[in-house]
């Protein structure tokens, strides 16, 4: 049973390289015997896998309904102000990638986001500025 190792392997690759490249998929296919097409299928199915290079810091802003009501749009707006990128984009210096994501279970503390997998809640412009500044330094 190698197939059940595929998710952990892809997770590892995503963490190590920041994305799952075509070369990596071919390599994993040779190592596991799982066809390239199936690996590609899995890699593109899950939203936390990326097949394009990502920035060093991964920001995922929750756009669930509770966060929407608590101002997730303003979070995206202030991130646009400081990073000049929209969801799906990466900054020129490759330091940040921005995505939106589904509910992250912090709906009582919205608006919320994940930064490199860690939760940040009750976001406002001042808080976001401080977070970005810390990532930059």
């Amino acid at each position: 049973m190698v197939q059940d190792l595929l998710l952990p392997i892809l997770k590892h690759e995503q963490k190590k390289s920041g994305y799952i490249s075509e070369a990596a998929i071919k390599r994993i296919s040779i190592q596991t015997g799982i066809p390239v097409s199936r690996i590609f299928g899995v890699a593109t199915f899950y939203s936390m896998f990326h097949t394009k290079p990502q920035g060093k810091n991964m920001i995922e802003v929750c756009h669930g309904p509770s966060c929407h009501l608590n101002g997730s749009f303003n979070v995206l707006k202030s991130l646009y102000k400081s990073l000049k990128i929209k969801p799906g984009e990466t900054t020129k210096d490759k330091k940040f990638s921005l995505h939106t994501c589904s509910c992250i279970g912090c709906c009582d503390k919205g608006p919320a986001m994940l930064l490199n997998g860690k939760q940040y809640t009750l976001l406002d412009e001042t808080k976001l500025k401080a977070i970005i500044k810390k990532c930059r330094s």
């Binding site: 899950y46 936390m48 709906c107």
Partner: protein, 372 residues
Amino acid sequence: MQILRKTELKAYKKAKKIGQKGVIEILSKKGLVGRGGAAFPTARKWQFAIDTKSDTKYVICNADEGEPGTFKDHLVLEKVPENVIEGIIIAAETIAAKQAYIYLRGEYEYLKPKIQKAISSVLKRSGSKVKIDIVVGAGAYVCGDETAIIKSIEGYRGQAYLKPPFPPVEGLWGKPTVINNVGTLANVPQAILFDDWDPHLRLFSLSGDVTKPGIYEFPMGVSLKKLIELGKPKNPVKAVYFGCFGGCMPYKEILLTPENVCGQNCVIGAGTIIVVDNTHSIVDMAETIAKFYAFESCGKCTPCREGSKRCLDLIAKIQSGKATKQDCDTLLDLALHIHETSLCGLGQTATNHLITALKYFREEFEQKCKLH
């Protein structure tokens, strides 16, 4: 809160003493039903797996709480992970499974160290030989479906498949598998141990336009008004959404039972209550939720894959002011079709929010439309 009472492995010891039959008897007598939303009797589910002959069986703990606006499993995993693990080993030993998995949402990965610690400590203290592994998902709402979880653990795209066969008969790698939700498994040791355990208590996730959001524990049948007043809304409340899939209703007093909520054309599901006040637009809510479904549709069947995108297009048209009232009819038509013809639960419920919004708040949509 009842759910946070610790059982400290006393339930496991009792379960060992009373054996398989005793556990099933106690759980069915006490009336423990699944907390994931379907409310299936837990004892019956386990009995199916017991009755299926096989050397290998599995238990899966569904920690894939993905319904937007729901964060009760999050609370349980954070506060009483040991109870959940105790529930898992009781389940596994009752159905004679040697291996259990916890399928944790990718978005909850930050809880993994805590759960891992609870596993080691419970296994060490109990002496149980059940092997428990955590499988972390990678972001897919559809994986909340039992069959999609199985596919995902097997390493495939987490796409749902048609039942039967039901997992307790033929599940993970074709073997009998019991899949229980975090909340169900946390209740197992409590139901076994405490005489005063109340089967009617549920966790409600209250969020949205309230100043005191959070998890509230009440019996099924609690007053909606009471619950929302505890949340202290800032402005007059206009609507209530039962998560994304449960639909919406105008705010008024009802007692929250599955039947009453169903009477409002909604589904109570896992007790998700999202409050919308009169400063927010229902059309904006519709757009947010439609985006969610267009993104999460797994793509396996046409009505949901194509339909969810078309819904989003139509809502965008309405938002832009270029739509006519006829587009509202088309939207409703489309929503009904997706509801009736989709393959799995995701698609079948993906448009509940639109069907109910167009029933109760149609004027908000029409106000954005051209006159003809």
